[in-house]
């Protein structure tokens, strides 16, 4: 129990007890609590306890509401932002000056708060022009969109770069842009690795099938000598199955498999 709560309850109890005591006293019926019967003392104590309980409940609610209000100020929210793994940047939409960067953003960008504040967004988007950066958030300012999500490359203090997935929101009341982003370098590397594996698998299968299918077609066409009818049937069967196998294994559509002539 917090000290302030305890004090409120003690103070309220004393007031109630005294009020009840003097109320009876003023009525002229009673001179002192010590002169009354045991029944009266018990009744007075019970009423006091009930009132203390009511006051306690009200106090609890008041303090709870007060605590919630205390969480709201900006300083507390920014403290919470610092706990997040996502990078949060707040900047002015007019001059693109950075107003806030949370700990994750500062750490990944290798800047201190002092170094980054009041610099423009171009410090961390040095690979882009101002016009290109404005294109990203222009639909938010013109109210075409509520928020937008995009991939972009950021530049660290040491010049190295990393890719982030950004969710951007614009607040017209303060003319600020708030971006929540996370580093997708590892995801990108995994995606590239996956694509490379698929590409290599396709290449391997297509090369092998080129040989099998090519040889079968050359044989069945009679290019390398006449083929008996019964053998022709078998060659066609093998060739058709090779093509079917190709279509099933290679994850490419017909358009992709066409020869670009």
């Amino acid at each position: 129990m917090r000290l302030s709560k305890l004090l409120i309850i003690v103070f309220a109890s004393v007031i109630i007890f005294l009020a009840l005591y003097f109320a009876f006293d003023i009525s002229g019926k009673l001179i002192s609590i010590y002169n009354h019967s045991m029944m009266f003392k018990i009744l007075l104590s019970v009423v006091t306890v009930v009132l203390i309980f009511i006051i306690y409940t009200i106090t609890e609610k008041y303090l709870l509401n007060n605590n919630l209000i205390q969480l709201t100020p900006q300083s507390k929210i920014l403290e919470i932002f610092d706990l997040l793994e996502d990078e949060i940047l707040i900047s002015n939409a007019q001059d693109l000056k950075l107003i806030y960067a949370n700990e994750s953003a500062l750490k990944n960008l290798s800047y201190t708060k002092r170094q980054l504040m009041n610099k423009t967004l171009m410090t961390i988007y040095s690979q882009y022009s101002v016009e290109q950066i404005r294109e990203y958030f222009q639909p938010l300012i013109t109210n075409e969109k509520d928020s937008c999500v995009f991939e972009i490359t950021r530049t660290r203090k040491d010049g190295t770069t990393y890719n982030v997935l950004v969710k951007l929101k614009y607040y017209s009341e303060t003319n600020t842009l708030i971006s929540v982003s996370h580093d997708i370098t590892k995801e990108k590397a995994l995606e590239d690795c996956k694509n490379q594996c698929i590409s290599d698998k396709n290449h391997f299968l297509r090369t092998a099938l080129t040989k099998i299918s090519g040889a079968l077609k050359i044989m069945s066409s009679g290019m390398v000598g006449q083929v008996p009818a019964t053998m022709q049937e078998m060659l066609n069967l093998a060739n058709n199955n090779t093509i079917e196998l190709l279509n099933k294994i290679c994850d490419t559509n017909n358009e992709e498999s066409k020869t670009d002539t």
């Binding site: 698929i198 590409s199 396709n202 290449h203 391997f204 299968l205 297509r206 090369t207 099938l209 080129t210 040989k211 299918s213 090519g214 040889a215 077609k217 050359i218 066409s221 290019m223 390398v224 190709l246 290679c250 490419t252 358009e255 992709e256 498999s257 066409k258 020869t259 670009d260 002539t261």
Partner: protein, 131 residues
């Protein structure tokens, strides 16, 4: 349609054979094969081909690097180059197109119509030059 002199770089001997048989059986074009891009570069000036077919993935020197070298040489930069590739995903095809080659033939190709495909690419190239 004139008879073309085709220089072809391909590391897979079996694919080489299929392409050679296809060309010889369905046309009167002349074809010479090399096992990789490096050897192709060594004989290109002497052979003086009308058209070059390049596989993409080859040891020693791959297709795109060979193409860059051909482009860098004033004597070979005007020879039309066609990539023949088993790298057939749409983004890969798009990437190869941007290199400046005159055509791309994906594997597996149709041996019976390979010549026609090459001739179509040749005709389109001629019409682009004359335009």
């Amino acid at each position: 349609m004139k008879n073309l002199k085709i220089l072809y770089a391909e590391d897979e001997a079996d694919v080489q054979t299929i392409v050679e048989i296809s060309i010889w059986s369905t046309s009167k074009h002349e074809i010479k094969t090399c096992p990789n891009g490096k050897i192709l570069l060594e004989c290109v000036e002497e052979y003086n081909p009308d058209l070059i077919l390049l596989d993409i993935m080859m040891p020693e020197m791959d297709g795109p690097t060979t193409f860059e070298n051909l482009q860098a040489n004033p004597k070979t930069k005007d020879i039309p180059v066609v990539f023949m590739t088993a790298k057939a995903q749409s983004h890969e095809i798009e990437m190869f197109k941007q290199t400046g080659v005159v055509g791309i033939i994906t594997k597996p190709f149709e041996p019976l119509s390979l010549c026609k495909d090459i001739e179509k690419i040749w005709d389109r190239h001629l019409s682009q030059i004359n335009a």
